[in-house]
């Protein structure tokens, strides 16, 4: 696959890991509070906390970095995996419809899931937890419409 400039490139939003960041904040807050009042936690507690925070941060960054989605002038590109890569490119002509899935909390934080359905109907692309999904959908719809107007999406038999 040729390397090219992507019009839009997105990854999972950090907002989707809010629960994990909250756990880190609770652990760090508890440690800070205990140090402040003089009840120093022991080595096991300290080491467990450090390992826990480190694991969570690694997990968040790995999950964010391993998958990305991009839009080119004529297709959507999906890349999965960090070491073993799986890249899939879907032409706009194969896309049947798009939908946006946002819960109430996701609407407040302005991130959500986008489902890209294909004419084949069996395989769809799920773009989970991206920032500003409405803008992404608008851009994508604009490009798909533009592409079809130019006749790229319609094969002449």
């Amino acid at each position: 696959m040729k390397k090219r400039n992507y019009l839009i490139k997105v990854r999972r939003s950090r907002k989707s890991f809010l629960g994990y960041y909250l756990m880190i904040l609770i652990v760090m807050g508890l440690l800070f509070h205990l140090y402040r009042i003089g009840d120093n936690p022991n080595k096991l507690a300290l080491n467990s906390s450090i390992i826990f925070i480190f694991l969570i941060l690694i997990y968040i960054e790995y999950t964010r970095l391993k998958d990305w989605w991009a839009i080119t002038e004529g297709s959507i590109v999906q890349s999965q995996g960090l070491l073993n890569k799986n890249i899939r490119e879907i032409d706009f002509s194969s896309i049947s419809d798009l939908d946006l899935d946002q819960t109430f909390s996701k609407r407040i934080l302005n991130y959500g899931n986008i489902n890209v359905r294909l004419f084949l109907n069996e395989t769809s692309i799920k773009i989970p937890n991206i920032n500003k999904p409405e803008i992404f959908i608008e851009e994508l719809q604009g490009l798909i419409s533009g592409s079809r107007r130019k006749g790229n999406g319609i094969r002449k038999v």
Partner: protein, 233 residues
């Protein structure tokens, strides 16, 4: 159709993996919070304190000794730690310095949790937490009902030091002179090497002598030409 079913099953398994990961992190989080809170209440010894229970009382022999003082490091939870310090020494409570003005100052730490280092030269270093302290019978408590941070950091000489009944010494090996009673046997030491293993009992240090009264798993004495090892088994 089959491709669609495969896709749905794949998504189902991916969802289950995600749920398992979330459960794992939540359990780990609960474990970490639990460890932090337990260590705050019980200090360093909340794991090691259980060691005492694991030694069967049947494996221990009665032990009393009056020996010269070794270098001793203690760490744990003690109901009462009694220290007598001379005039002009300082003690720190919640980072505030208290100067001891009497000729002999008797200090009692109640529910002490921390580290104590005793030197054969007769100096003391103490650091930990205590629910209540009495200095010459004057009680000192925390207004907020929490533990007081205590320390005697300047290695002052002590006149006496005592912990009643709950001292656990895993192993101590030092050269000493004195007298010891093991079960019904009495032994006199004269600058001989003694090794005491798994001692439980009281500890009193006064006039450069260490008084032990409790139970022990094993005592080894290395003389000039011979070695004696005494235990129940």
């Amino acid at each position: 159709m089959e491709l669609g079913r495969y896709n749905n099953e794949h998504l189902h398994f991916a969802h289950r993996r995600k749920v398992k990961r979330e459960i794992f992190f939540f359990v780990f989080f609960t474990f970490v919070i639990g460890i932090i809170l337990l260590s705050s209440f019980y200090g360093e010894s909340f794991l090691t304190g259980k060691v005492i229970g694991k030694i069967s009382q049947e494996e221990l022999i009665d032990f009393q000794a009056l020996l010269s003082v070794p270098d001793l490091s203690l760490e744990g939870n003690y109901d009462e730690v009694m220290v007598t310090l001379g005039m002009g020494q300082d003690i720190y409570i919640d980072n505030k310095r208290i100067s001891l003005t009497e000729f002999e100052n008797k200090i009692i730490f109640f529910n002490f949790n921390g580290k104590i280092n005793l030197n054969k030269s007769g100096v003391l270093n103490l650091e930990g937490k205590s629910s209540e302290i009495k200095i010459n019978n004057i009680p000192i408590n925390s207004r907020k009902n929490r533990s007081l941070k205590v320390s005697i950091p300047q290695n002052p000489p002590y006149k006496s030091f005592e912990i009643k009944e709950e001292v656990y010494i895993k192993e101590i090996d030092f050269e000493s002179s004195g007298k010891l009673n093991l079960d019904k046997d009495t032994l006199n030491l004269n600058s001989e090497r003694i090794k005491i293993k798994n001692y439980q009992g009281s500890l009193k240090l006064e006039n450069s002598r260490m008084n032990l009264n409790g139970k022990v798993e094993m005592v080894e004495i290395h003389g000039n030409f011979s070695k004696i090892s005494l235990s129940k088994l």
